[in-house]
Symmetry: C3
Subunit: 445 residues, 3 copies
Amino acid sequence: VKRDLVTLDDLSDREIESLFSLADEYLAALGDLRRPPRVTGALQLAAGRILSTLFYESSTRTRLSFEAAMLRLGGQILASADPGKTSAAKGESIADTVRVIESYADLLVLRHPAEGAARLAAEFTETPLINAGDGGHEHPTQTLCDLYTLRRANKALRGLSVLLCGDLKNGRTTHSLAYALARFGAHIIPLPGSGLGLPDHVCRRLETDYHCTPVPREEHREMLNADTPLDVVYVTPTAPHQLSLLTSTGATDDGEAERRIQLARRTLANIDVCYVTRLQRERLEGDLAPAAYPIVDKKFLSERRYKNAQVMHPLPRVDELAYDLDEDPRGVYFKQAAYGVPVRMALIAGLLRLRPEVLSAVPPPARYEVYKPSKRVRCTNPRCVTNLASEQRYSTQKFWVIDSYTIRCAYCDVERRPRARIARVEPSAAEWPAEPGEKPVEAGG
Amino acid sequence: VKRDLVTLDDLSDREIESLFSLADEYLAALGDLRRPPRVTGALQLAAGRILSTLFYESSTRTRLSFEAAMLRLGGQILASADPGKTSAAKGESIADTVRVIESYADLLVLRHPAEGAARLAAEFTETPLINAGDGGHEHPTQTLCDLYTLRRANKALRGLSVLLCGDLKNGRTTHSLAYALARFGAHIIPLPGSGLGLPDHVCRRLETDYHCTPVPREEHREMLNADTPLDVVYVTPTAPHQLSLLTSTGATDDGEAERRIQLARRTLANIDVCYVTRLQRERLEGDLAPAAYPIVDKKFLSERRYKNAQVMHPLPRVDELAYDLDEDPRGVYFKQAAYGVPVRMALIAGLLRLRPEVLSAVPPPARYEVYKPSKRVRCTNPRCVTNLASEQRYSTQKFWVIDSYTIRCAYCDVERRPRARIARVEPSAAEWPAEPGEKPVEAGG
Amino acid sequence: VKRDLVTLDDLSDREIESLFSLADEYLAALGDLRRPPRVTGALQLAAGRILSTLFYESSTRTRLSFEAAMLRLGGQILASADPGKTSAAKGESIADTVRVIESYADLLVLRHPAEGAARLAAEFTETPLINAGDGGHEHPTQTLCDLYTLRRANKALRGLSVLLCGDLKNGRTTHSLAYALARFGAHIIPLPGSGLGLPDHVCRRLETDYHCTPVPREEHREMLNADTPLDVVYVTPTAPHQLSLLTSTGATDDGEAERRIQLARRTLANIDVCYVTRLQRERLEGDLAPAAYPIVDKKFLSERRYKNAQVMHPLPRVDELAYDLDEDPRGVYFKQAAYGVPVRMALIAGLLRLRPEVLSAVPPPARYEVYKPSKRVRCTNPRCVTNLASEQRYSTQKFWVIDSYTIRCAYCDVERRPRARIARVEPSAAEWPAEPGEKPVEAGG
């Protein structure tokens, strides 16, 4: 069985911890490598192995980070910065491309504009595959680096209060990070640009999958200045995880509701991490810039609650993160970028089984049951890989059953609700909403 | 003396066989490399050697295949995916570019849109050069991989019946393969899309160079259903090769004509290989799609004659080869793609003299005498490299003398017929057809 | 302390000599590598080290030359042929980009269209950086290769007479070479295309920095045919260097003026090097080709003064250098290109401290005092990196004090003259010329 990294759910908690220990080891080795006279030789662990970067969208930074990691391990790289210009331009399907490229390399790294492309590609190859970004969906190695940065600076992720600033709507980085924070019990304080809040489907998934519940502003307003635009805080109860959805208004137990309000207050009083993101201009529909966008600079951070906040940013930054923080000890964004190499080295060593102790033979069990419709059921997300013309030539229909009335595309994670129960009996054609004009569940559901 | 691979004629039969034996060896080594725990170390044969891919046209698949082969041998690569944007944009000639790049690398791999570019480049460098496709002319390593695939699945190429489907007009792959099949005594059954048959010059060369003769439909029609569009079969008589051109109508010996008809019937009764190709949309003149184009799918292959046919395709496919064959044991196209690596490894090891037993010191003798005109004689092919503005600055005129009234450009292989005999006495200016408006021999001759 | 190569002034005379000795060693090793059977193994000096080529403009030839050098040393490469398409398109500053990329590599090679970009980048990273061309400013490794070619063919640079042909206005290669020639005591004879002479600021710097003085045509006209367009010769007096500016008209000592005229005559009588450059069409403002442009061919070189001239060209050539010189022993341009690899190998080995004897721990002392204005003073060069929008977010103001009334941008080397003395007391705002419409000093000063 081969292992992939398409979303962070492909790794168990223990595996993530093992990867981070190995990253610590590589980080030290890299430090030695740079100190003249060089005290360690080159790592030769991956000698003779080839990693292929298959980037249907340009992303120099992400691509170089993977390539640097492979080279530091002693392996080799096959770079294709722009396969979209060639085979895809000739109309080739992703399924075909990976079945060819897999004979050239031992590990594939895929960046693709379609949501769910990485999962689909992984299913068609026996070579391990890493998702380096699939449209607005996920970017799990960025999230791994973010978590690693948090872990090096903090004793634990549980209970950490993390401010997410900027474009929370279009940034896959932010979505992946939000899931990971919730998974490890951190609290999330969104501070979006106007109109750029976390999408409904992300909020819903925070609750459904991770029991991370929103506590709206009115419940904790005394903590805030009148002009603070924070109006919700997502808290993850310590333990045990609740099995029902706990929204603030739906709480059946007054004591529990009060506990969550207290948690929200504590979360706001002392921000541990301030995660800044740039406006994803290239994903804006229409060309309108948002009316307001948070700028993080020395002045912003002068409030007492930010006294010990680590400032992170996935980079590149534009104007949302001021240069006056470059010398501030709270600014850890360049360190965060540098951690990309040891973290990816650990991941590569794990997936190639060069360090077989890091990853189990099999992935963690799926969270939900799978549903493979016996007739064609289109994913309602127009940006889903299964809706690309090139991928219509073969059948790719697979959903997770979230509850009796909700399925989630196994590729792009967008949900859909037929009008009838799914469970054991499949809905009949009449019970699926009409396809043309049908809205994805986050918009219409 | 250095060796090149510009067309398959640059290799003797014995050398091709040696390359394939070495490819067998590498194929086994690659299999071991992928099996965990890895039982063989990295090959280090090409350590310290550099292969440079010089691609004036993008072709991710071909480029990666060469690069993977070099890396698997322990060598290194210099990739230039788009030199056309830089030095060529500044007006540099191919002759100059290779004389610079040769100082960076030990082996050059050239892809260029002009026909004959690879031969011209090879003449200007002392570094071995591989043609990775020169316009519509040749793509010999694709042909080597095709032959290797055939050889692994069949006892011999001699007598094999090969159906060529699709775009036989624009595909250099198909032309190169047709020559190779004829050379090794296989029989060819063209099944083109409408208007996309083998060009006249290819048919003529099949006869001239390889004595592969067409047997038209009326001679063997009883074999076919009324609606089968196959109307000619090219057969290669076993031995000895005839020295005169044997066309079906020109056969002087009734016994021989009958023998060829029997051969055509046997060829049609049992197809060994079905070689499918996509429509070369990017080389279509005008924008008209063909009225009909053969689709190979399970239904197509249900006729009894295809019972044991191996289905090959140079990939990428579009719609001409159905996904329903992916699981069919007759579909060997992904295997064919994977063979690209060991075959290219063997070729690289041969050209770099890392395995000196594979290639002789000198190339096979030329088939025809050379003719270097004492005055300027333009090749009539507008896509010939010698007609590029950048290459007009130096003299590049060289032809093969096919017969007393036919010369063939030594770069692009397009033929031309002066009005007078060539032989020893050169035709005078008046005896060459006027240059402007002059047609290539395959159209007007 | 790390070392960079941004301009040739970053290397002392002794360091350049050490680099060339090491290049000799590598040149011999490369020769052995290519001779079959290979007598030397691969160099492994840079094993485990990574060089990253960061090219904001395409330049296949330059990029491959660096990559070949690193691979020949046993190191690895991270290529980003087009970072301008990704991070820069997202608005990232150069300062940010290098602070990220430095965590991927041990050595950075930067090509950027903005003048001064390399100096700025070098200041923001602790990783050694090589300038591979920054707009029209400098291209020091090309100059190193030119000097190395001169040194291999001549006993000394001092006293050499070098004809510079072609586009002397737009070619950074020519400017860098002119400075280097002057620095090492060679004499310079400009032969520009019409309107493409050495810019004023280059001539001024030849005098200011290197005491290389022009001797105009009337002083030595008897040497020339009436139609020779050479109208000035730059001579560098042997020793000791003059501390005042010696222009021909300003010479205070008649004996010295006479000596310089004699020097100009000797320089013209016997040309040692003919350095040809192509028209930099891509940097022409407007689209007008020059009225006349020198063509160097066998006929041009038939004058007796060129009898022993080595013909050099940075390549690619277009029409300014005829193919009929390819076989002429005076044509050394392909050799010059080939020297790029051993010279860059030596430089890499030096900067990475793999051969610690080559470069001192600290760079040569600056020629002038530094001036960091306490208020914002814009560089007047619109192509200067400090005037890019992306770089305005942080402060980058640094000038050299050339004399009491002249400062020179420490990034792009363009000079500016406030109306008041600089020295210890800073000019007040009123004393700087108004910024909009202000002309760079070479045009208006």
